[in-house]
Symmetry: C2
Subunit: 228 residues, 2 copies
Amino acid sequence: MNLSIDTNIDSRTMKDYVYQVLKRNIMELRLKPGSPLKKEKISRQLQVSVTPVREAFAKLAEDDLVDILPQNGTFVSHINIDKIIQAQFMRENMELAVIKLACEMDFPKDRLFKLQTIVKMQEILAEEENLIQLFELDNQFHRIVFETCNKKYVWEILQQVSTHIDRIRVLSLTTYFNRKEIIADHQKIIDAIKDKNLELAERVVKEHTNRIKYDIEKMKEKYSDYFD
Amino acid sequence: MNLSIDTNIDSRTMKDYVYQVLKRNIMELRLKPGSPLKKEKISRQLQVSVTPVREAFAKLAEDDLVDILPQNGTFVSHINIDKIIQAQFMRENMELAVIKLACEMDFPKDRLFKLQTIVKMQEILAEEENLIQLFELDNQFHRIVFETCNKKYVWEILQQVSTHIDRIRVLSLTTYFNRKEIIADHQKIIDAIKDKNLELAERVVKEHTNRIKYDIEKMKEKYSDYFD
DNA sequence: GTTATTATATTAACATACTAATATAAAAAA
DNA sequence: TTTTTTATATTAGTATGTTAATATAATAAC
């Protein structure tokens, strides 16, 4: 229940600040699914009034990260396996659609170089066991592909639905993480884009998402009380 | 600027009520892009305090339907053509993915019948020029397909993204609407699912979305000041 | 002991009041 | 006349207080 409070978040408003602190703590499972969130307590901890806390709750409810029960309380939501499956379905299909564009278009050399740099960095971080950074770079890799195909907004929406998946991925970081495979996947995606090899790209994307599905199953067994 | 106020909205909270009223008025372009939204005025019109109005504004901002400029004002957002294109990209690809599932699975007979009923109703409504209802049934048709494939959550996310597209579609209702083609498309989709004819389904879905793209171009010319 | 009723505490939703930031208009300086 | 400065109005963000609904605990009835 002890929040990790990061004062150096660049948030325009207090509401935004509270939202980001709570979201991070929920995503990193410092706040466990099912546990209650007390407005007054958080307002004391973060040194703000209850109004921005209340508004942050509302935004978290939009993300399905908390459940607000009127006149009762606000609770960290349980991880919903069906939502994860559907989020994964969206993710996989949109990833495939974008990779198709990437293979068809004239993918800029400097963007390919950027992707290559990320993979190199990931290889180093994997040695260092810096898993959080590895996770960040994984997202960055895919984001660059989406942005280069002029699908930045699509990426943003996928990020929103990915909150469900990401809670699992954070879990799997602490226990098991198929690092080498994921990094190898990224290398293959770069090669596929470079060679305009759509078939390879599609196969890799499918394998890539299958790995995540495997993680989900593993985590579901291990932390069954976090699910509903 | 005169709001259409529907008191018969089933909303749990005042915030929700205000949100729905404003959303509908923005979507139906009763509230024009760029026009300011005054908290006090709306709170008077809807007989609530400013707090739920303020919270409704925040939710509309999440949907990109309003722009909140701090200490300045809240304005109905302009229609962003790039967001529409990307929303359409998501819609088309997810529609394709789901239709693929529909063709592969054992699509229940009663659901097919439901879809068939909708098409029949649409044919009647097209004669009656009841365009709003036609628009509603169009959404319902696709929703049933998604839900039957266990992709209800995907549909909900797409609905959120579709707000941008829908403002256009409402516009095109009032001016031009390729009704017969859309109804015919739906009939073809039913046939494709029934016959498990994936190729036909994919061709129709692509044509279906292309019609909307055509509408977008038309509306962009006609109402250029609504765009940014 | 078990069920039904009442009382209490807690809470989200809402109302109202205040503050600081921004834009616009008015006034002053060039 | 044009530019700069100052004053005013408006507004989002925030704080605090109030209300009504819900759950839990305590009591009463069976």
